[in-house]
Assembly symmetry: C2
Homo-oligomer: 275 residues x 2
């Protein structure tokens, strides 16, 4: 799925919601846990229930890798089950020297059919470029993350003769030049809404993947106010508060309701740019 | 394997070599490629040939993930095939928010039987802590990497009222306090020997995992001169120049020879600390 198709999907659904499939077998309803394919069955039910209310799904690879080989089967089957009308993100935070990053890019863009993968910036240009070489695929680089640890290094002040800048700002500026809005997005945590205006001044056109709404406490209203651009430019991820909305056999209906509530609020925010 | 056992293995073998299993099916000998388990057969032959000359193996997960589900089978089987006398490293460069890093730690320390995993520092403390919580396991955090991209962000000068410091120095200082020499190592590229003296002044006791000797051009002599500490404190990784030493059916013998050559040189360097 390319950028124009993503924007068209957002316009059609009036939603910029991404549902995060961080599926932990210990947290899914008890009655499903006896199913030998419990996690896949759970994912399919969540996808069926939410697909009319979201434009993207994000698979957090960690939760599947922890299951070992079986978990990679479930990544593959879940990825294939997501409708082609939806943008498929592998949230994998990969990044290594060039020849190794090329293998990771192959993993998510060729071996599996993801549209995008999250990438860590610390190792610099040759660790990011191999992902950007794919046509109609997106590299989503960590900018300013949603967690408490984002204060440890990402906000360090970089010494400069000009204006003082934070590390994450330097990272956004530099990496934005390695790609463009058609192949490059950035992760900005919903808990960092105060910094979003500055971020939009650095990268006005790139889509931002925004985790941290819901369980982590970020505000959809704040993020939308400062983050929306003329093409929407946001994918708001919610995971735990959608997929674990209920722990009973009505879990998919409960997930649908939470996803729908996000969409209703998003329709209002989109009016600020498209009406 | 704990720190004392690792040091004992180094003393016994007079080697601090780590063999990197970055196995790419397109690069292994032609005659093996018809074998349905070619990569595993290759890894086993390399392990059999080199195990007397090294103390550790490093599995670069990217090369296996690119094969899909089958690749994770091979990670598991290779990990299980490495003798328990050897230190087993998953070179995976993971790191995410706390609940997700906990899943990655579970993956490599519980689901698979690795002794150590490489971790990216950008997301800060809560992304590193879950790995450190395991007893007798090692978290190997990226410090200063071997690739050209290490110049993009790792060496940025951090603004400070005191002495000027580079980003990677701040990262080493801070993260060293989250763990200790018994559960924390750092990656420092062999191509960065000029910085090793400074690095040893920040982290005198931690083991360093040093990639970049061989194909990437780092010098074993330089790295040993500035990096060795009283416990050795180094694991020198070589991958491509050992595992692809020959492309014929004598590949394992050729790998043995290259590994043995490293060991012979290492014996000389170890005399500077232990004789």
């Amino acid at each position: 799925m390319n950028r124009l198709q993503l924007i068209a999907a957002i316009k059609e659904k009036q939603s910029y919601l991404c549902v995060g499939l961080d599926t932990d077998i210990t947290k899914i309803p008890q009655y499903l846990q006896t199913n030998p394919n419990a996690v896949l069955a759970f994912n399919k039910a969540i996808i069926d229930a939410t697909k009319n209310y979201c434009v993207a799904y994000k698979i957090n690879t960690a939760f599947y890798e922890a299951m070992g080989v079986k978990g990679w089967h479930i990544i593959e089957e879940t990825c294939n089950y997501i409708p082609t009308t939806h943008f498929k993100i592998a949230d994998a935070k990969r990044g290594d020297i060039g020849n190794t990053s090329a293998q990771y890019a192959k993993t998510f863009f060729e071996t599996f059919a993801f549209d995008a993968v999250t990438v860590a910036p610390y190792m610099g240009e040759d660790s990011v470029r191999p992902f950007l070489e794919y046509q109609n695929k997106f590299t989503i680089v960590l900018g300013l993350t949603s967690n408490a640890g984002s204060n440890d290094f990402q906000k360090l002040i970089i010494h400069s003769t000009k204006k003082e800048k934070k590390l994450y700002q330097i990272i956004l500026e530099k990496i934005a030049n390695w790609g463009n809005a058609n192949n490059l997005m950035f992760v900005v945590g919903a808990t960092q809404a105060n910094d979003l205006q500055d971020i939009r001044s650095i990268i006005p056109n790139n889509f931002l993947l925004i985790p941290g709404v819901g369980a982590q406490g970020g505000s959809l209203a704040e993020v939308s106010k400062y983050g929306l651009n003329k093409d929407c430019g946001l994918l708001i991820n919610a995971s735990r508060n959608i997929i674990y909305a209920s722990n009973n056999n009505n879990f998919s209906e409960a997930a649908l309701q939470v996803a729908n509530n996000y969409t209703i609020e998003m329709q209002e925010h989109l009016k600020t740019i498209w009406y």
